[in-house]
Subunit: 193 residues, 2 copies
Amino acid sequence: MKLLEFKFSLPGWVEGFLRERGSKFSTVEKRMRFVVDLARRNVQKRSGGPFAAGIFDEKGTLIAPGVNIVVASNCSILHAEIVAIILAQKRLGCYDIGAGDESHYELVTSTEPCAMCLGAIPWSGISCVVCGARSEDAQSIGFDEGAKPPDWQHAMQKRGIKVVQDVLRPEAISVLKEYARGGGPIYNAGKRR
Amino acid sequence: MKLLEFKFSLPGWVEGFLRERGSKFSTVEKRMRFVVDLARRNVQKRSGGPFAAGIFDEKGTLIAPGVNIVVASNCSILHAEIVAIILAQKRLGCYDIGAGDESHYELVTSTEPCAMCLGAIPWSGISCVVCGARSEDAQSIGFDEGAKPPDWQHAMQKRGIKVVQDVLRPEAISVLKEYARGGGPIYNAGKRR
């Protein structure tokens, strides 16, 4: 029954973008630059919100990219981080990509995860989260980040998940500002007050 | 590119279950009984974790069901609540099902949402959350619920989202216990300590 299934795809331009950039990123700054550029392309192509993410293995190889496709897919769940987690788990054939061996997977996200994406991280098997812009940067253009636990960084670290913040933050902020200047839709902005 | 898309379906038996039960549920207890029975069937069919959910409109009509399909779909995101939100948004053609008119949608879930699902609720357009079992009931059989903000009920209510707890809690707990007795997999149980 069609109503009991769901499918999404990344925007068509992503495949060419990946070919152009390759899949090896030897430093955390290179990985963040890839992710910030992916977010900027998502804004310029008007294919979604100003957010992108990627999951990389311990050698810096891209396992799966993600961009925000909430509006295009009519699905509030499809934030960039969630898309990257889903596609990485599909590629690796496992709902817990950190299980069972010594592998280490890093989620690099252009903006700090919202409450939903934060909650998704411990279930995914990721062992490190790297953030560009901060929540307040997304809030400053009108996005709502949700109710996060106070000191969520410490809560992650207690679970063995490392958190690194402010990597290329100015570049990540510039994508948020470009989106706001272009009049992109600011959805879910705390409308139920 | 196959690696840039994802598809899921509810288990095959769900369609028959929906035909059997109909789609009108005039009281919150009837809606919860439907959801608890859906969770129990998911356990008995061994198609996923002991969790189910449904989204209903203000007349008590089922808009979309959800069951936990994390293991079968190799996807840690596909908790029952997330599946129901995705399918309801698909059916209604909108990423924010509460937007734009006076409609009211209720999420009924057999167990209180985990941190990820809680975070997803404000983005979905749902205006009421009804819970059966409590987090501690899921934790007592070994499931991890994640780091929720203290007093999350109040945080939801501040956003205009009503929270109702303990509807048919004993029946919902009995499904969790049936799953544990049957030796169902307890995944993501805080393994990264």
